[in-house]
Each structure stands twice: as structure tokens, then as C-alpha cells.
Amino acid sequence: MAAPPADLPGVALPLTVRDLRVCFGSVTAVDGISFAIRRGEVFGLLGANGAGKTTTIRVTTTLIRASSGSVAVFGHDVRADALRVRHLIGYLPQALSADFQLSGYENVWLFARLFDLPRREREARVREVLRAMGLDDVRDRLVSTFSGGMVRRLELAQALVNRPALLVLDEPTIGLDPLARADVWERVRELREQTGMTVLVTTHYMEEADTLCDRVALMHRGRLVAGGTPGELKAALGPEATLDDVFRHHVGKAIEDEDVTGGGRDVRRTRRAAQRLG
């Protein structure tokens, strides 16, 4: 499943979202958003807790269904063609998701099998991603002995073992200390340079989004309220503006009375992840 060559004319885009709406009962988590991601870019979906970022990601990764609208990954509809979509995606969920009862190697090996890597390539590929994530020395240790940063890198290795054409990272650095955070980003950046893979990332760390993303979209209460390159967004506010200012400008004062679309649940999930990271 090698990444397709960059920018072939006439070949479908990595992600196309049209009028996406997701409702949970009476709550509208995503309220009619449209955007597209270009091949090879790092696209950041930003917003406060409960803005609808994770819901959007979960529709993209075929985990939940849209109430209306359509989402396509490299031209495959997420609903009609879920298995193909999943083959194309590498997914790092927000909650920690490595199996602590298995070793580092076994965790990645499991995903190599679940992505139908041919038997003869499996072992080499597992070793390759473990090496790329700097985990080769500890691969036979149980994950329960790993530090938070190591667990996150292991999960990246799991997400990369199928050589995804679209890497989806949901709050990849949440709960990590600054050094581990920088390390995760450094590896994502390296990978992207080597493979040209497309990346969709959500984060609330604005300075990370600023340095890493080619383009960002700002979500608030299920809608897109701003979008463009970090440079464009900052310039629109003034010469000295930071992405933090942009965020505050569009979302800012609404945050205090926020908790409409499952913000509490979001926080709970985040805390749980942080807890497991120790």
C-alpha cells in the first residue's frame, strides 16, 4: 500500500468532506462543514474541546456514520467503501491505544496482520517502523513498562506499519511532556519528508499547528469559522498576531460558556489519556 505519487491530475484527493453533519440525538456535533485536503500537505483541524474535531475524524476513519453529507478518502466513500478507506489510513486516536499486555513488537505485529501485509514482508516492515520510531531496542519489553512518550511513538509505529497514504492524528501530543512532544513532531516531520504522505491532525496547541501545518481550519461548535495557511490567518489580524490570537479572535470568549457538544466527554477522554501516560 505505497503512497500514491504526488499530485497526479485526475486522481482523487486524500480527503474530501462535503456538507458533513453529525448529530447525536438532539446534539449536533458537526454542523455542515466542507473542506478538502491536498496531496502531501499537513492539514490541521483546530478548535476547543467539543468543537467537533474528533467527531469529524471519527467519520473519516469510518468509526461513526455521518447524519448527512459525504466524506471520501482518495475517492472512496467512507460509508460505501469502508474497508478500502481503512486500508489507506493510518490512525492515531486521542486516547492511548497500545495494548499494555503485549510487547512493543507484538503491538505492531498485530496491526501488520490486521492490515493484511503479506507474510514475507511482515517482519521486515514491523522492524522498520519500530526502528524509525526509535523503539528497536525495547521491542520485546511489555508496553506496561514504557514511558508515555514511548507509548505514543509505538502507536505511531502501529499507525505507520501499513504505509498509509493518509495519516490521521487526533491530538497526537496530548498529555506528553514538552520533550516527548517535540520528539513526536520531529518524527512526523521526518516521515513526511521521506514519504510525502498526507497528514490530517487535530490539536489545541496553537504553536504546534503554526510550525507544522501547511494549512489549518478552525472549528467552533461544529462549524468551520476560519481557514487558510497559518500565515494568512495571522496576517488578517495584524502584523504581530500569533495563531493563538487568531484562535482567541474566532473562538475566544465563547469558551467560558462552552460545553454544548460533548466537551465534558472530550475532557474526560483527554484526562484518561494523560493518566495512562503517567
Binding site: 500500500m1 500514491p4 485526475g10 486522481v11 482523487a12 484527493l13 474530501t16 468532506v17 447525536f24 462543514i33 466542507s34 473542506f35 478538502a36 491536498r38 476513519t61 469510518t62 468509526l63 461513526i64 471520501a72 482518495f74 475517492g75 472512496h76 474497508l83 478500502r84 481503512r86 486500508h87 489507506l88 489510513i89 490512525y91 486516536p93 486521542q94 486516547a95 492511548l96 491505544s97 497500545a98 495494548d99 499494555f100 499486555q101 503485549l102 510487547s103 507484538e106 498485530l110 496482520r113 490486521l114 492490515f115 493484511d116 511489555l142 502501529q158 497514504a165 494549512r215 489549518v216 481550519a217 468551520l224 469559522v225 476560519a226 481557514g227 487558510g228 484518561r272 489519556a273 495512562r276
Partner: protein, 281 residues
């Protein structure tokens, strides 16, 4: 929405862009692959932590040594000619201890849900039915350990079994089917109650009725009519019946037994898989 970045390509583009090609293996390769995968993972987990395995061996040993030996002495329960009560009881305890393992298997899926593992598994190219099948047979692998424990104990107690290796293998397969069904029942309950504590409660509440409303301890013939009716719809009874046929050579409707178990597994997998999205939310 003017603020949206990069509007989707307009419909007026010359031709519809073609999707990127992806190979998906056919279902008849996909399902066995997933079942073997979860099976291997379960074996690894057992290898990393054998405590549960040892603890699980305690209960069947008590049942056979205390209950079995005592009731053999009382001779209160009629057994087929030439079969001691201990021999009659062993297959029942084999099924029971597998049931005890499987009925709480849903806890694993709730744990995996809470820890984010389930979400990620569901984002791999593994259909829901294949995921549940894989988990169900993983429970089966765990329960085979009980077959080994009870066979070993039976050998020590000099229970007269049919030690034909093919029959032993058949017995292991029957236990795997039974465990697969009861783990699906557990995962179905997990999909309904969603919380570990509630699952524990429901599991506790139904384990004993499943056990007592079966032929594990006594033959169907001595049951009152209403219990006999319950026993006839309890997959546990068919499991025990098949095990007795395999291990004791008593006359059984083996085809019916295995057929009922297999059908129960299919229904269980379907039920648990249909509730999986509730867990993934």
C-alpha cells in the same frame, strides 16, 4: 461558506477524479486471517501472564474433588450404566469452567473500549463480524486450558475416559464452540450495559442459572418439567452432551449438539457485532 479553506473541487471539473486503487482480500481469506490473528494474540497474552490460568484451575479442581467425590459416595444421581458419577460429572465441569471464563470475556472488550484499543482495532480493515469472531475464538483458546486441567485431573483420579486422541481433540473443539458462544453472549451484554461493574453483575446473575439449568450436574431425566424445558434451550446442555459422547462414549446426538452450538455461535457473533458501534462511540 466563504471562510472554508479549499472548497471541494467543483463538479464542473472535466472528469470525475478516479479513486486510488486498493486491494482488499476476499472474505474467505479475511475471516480466517482475523480469527488466527486474535487467537495468536491471546496466546501471547497468556504467555506473558499465566496467573489467571493458574487461578482458573482452582475451581474445577474443587468441584471434582469435593462435590464429585462426595456425590459419588451418596449415589443420589443416576448415571448411565458403567459410568461413575465422577466420570459423568467431569465433562459437565469442563463445560462449566469454560463458561466461567467466557461469560466475563466482555470485560476485556469494555476494557479495550475504555483504553482506546477497540477504536483503533475498528479502524483497521477488519469487518465487525470478523472482529467479534476473532475475539470469540480467542476466548475459546483460553478455555482450552480448562480442558487440559480437567483431563489431567481426571487421569489422576483414574476416571475412565475414552482417551482416543481424536475424541480428545473433538472435546476441545466442542469446548471452543461453547466458549465462543458464551463470550459472544458476554460481549452482547457488554454492548448493552457498557460498564464493567454492570457486566460483572449480569454475568454473576446468569452464570449459575445457565449452569444449573443444564445437564452438567445431573441428567435431564431427573429434572422437573419446567427445568427440562429450560435445559432444552440452553446451549450448555448441548455442549455437555457432546462432551460426554466424546469422553465417555455415552450415546449422544452429536450432530444435533454440534449443530445447535454452531448455530448459537453464529447468532451470538451477529448479536455482538450489531452492538459493537455502541461500544465504539
Amino acid at each position: 461558506m466563504s471562510a472554508a479553506p479549499a472548497a471541494p473541487p467543483s463538479a464542473s471539473a472535466s472528469a470525475a477524479p478516479r479513486p486510488v486503487a486498493v486491494d482488499v482480500p476476499p472474505w474467505w481469506r479475511l475471516y480466517p486471517n482475523r480469527i488466527v490473528t486474535f487467537w495468536l494474540v491471546e496466546l501471547r497474552k497468556i504467555r506473558h501472564d499465566r496467573t489467571e490460568l493458574y487461578m482458573r484451575a482452582v475451581q474445577p479442581v474443587l468441584w471434582l474433588l469435593i462435590f464429585g467425590e462426595t456425590f459419588s459416595r451418596i449415589r443420589a444421581i443416576p448415571t448411565p450404566p458403567g459410568v461413575s458419577y465422577l466420570a459423568y460429572l467431569s465433562p459437565g465441569i469442563m463445560a462449566q469452567s469454560a463458561l466461567f471464563i467466557a461469560i466475563f470475556f466482555g470485560i476485556q472488550i469494555i476494557w479495550e473500549r475504555d483504553s482506546g484499543i477497540l477504536t483503533k482495532l475498528m479502524a483497521t480493515p477488519t469487518p465487525r463480524l470478523a472482529l467479534i469472531s476473532g475475539k470469540a475464538f480467542a476466548a475459546g483458546v483460553r478455555s482450552v486450558s480448562q480442558v487440559v486441567v480437567i483431563l489431567a485431573l481426571s487421569a489422576v483420579l483414574q476416571v475412565r475416559f475414552d482417551w482416543n486422541p481424536l475424541h480428545l481433540l473433538g472435546a476441545a473443539l466442542v469446548v471452543v464452540l461453547g466458549a465462543a458462544f458464551f463470550s459472544c453472549l458476554s460481549m452482547t451484554i457488554a454492548g448493552i450495559v457498557l460498564h464493567r461493574e454492570r457486566l460483572m453483575g449480569v454475568g454473576q446473575a446468569i452464570t449459575m442459572p445457565l449452569f444449573f439449568a443444564s445437564n452438567a450436574l445431573y441428567p435431564v431425566a431427573v429434572m422437573p418439567g419446567w427445568l427440562r424445558a429450560l435445559s432444552s434451550v440452553n446451549p450448555m446442555s448441548y455442549e455437555v452432551d457432546a462432551l460426554r459422547g466424546m469422553l465417555l462414549g455415552t450415546p449422544t446426538a452429536l450432530l444435533l449438539d454440534v449443530g445447535v452450538l454452531a448455530a448459537a455461535v453464529v447468532a451470538g457473533v451477529a448479536a455482538a457485532a450489531s452492538l459493537l458501534p455502541r461500544l465504539a462511540r
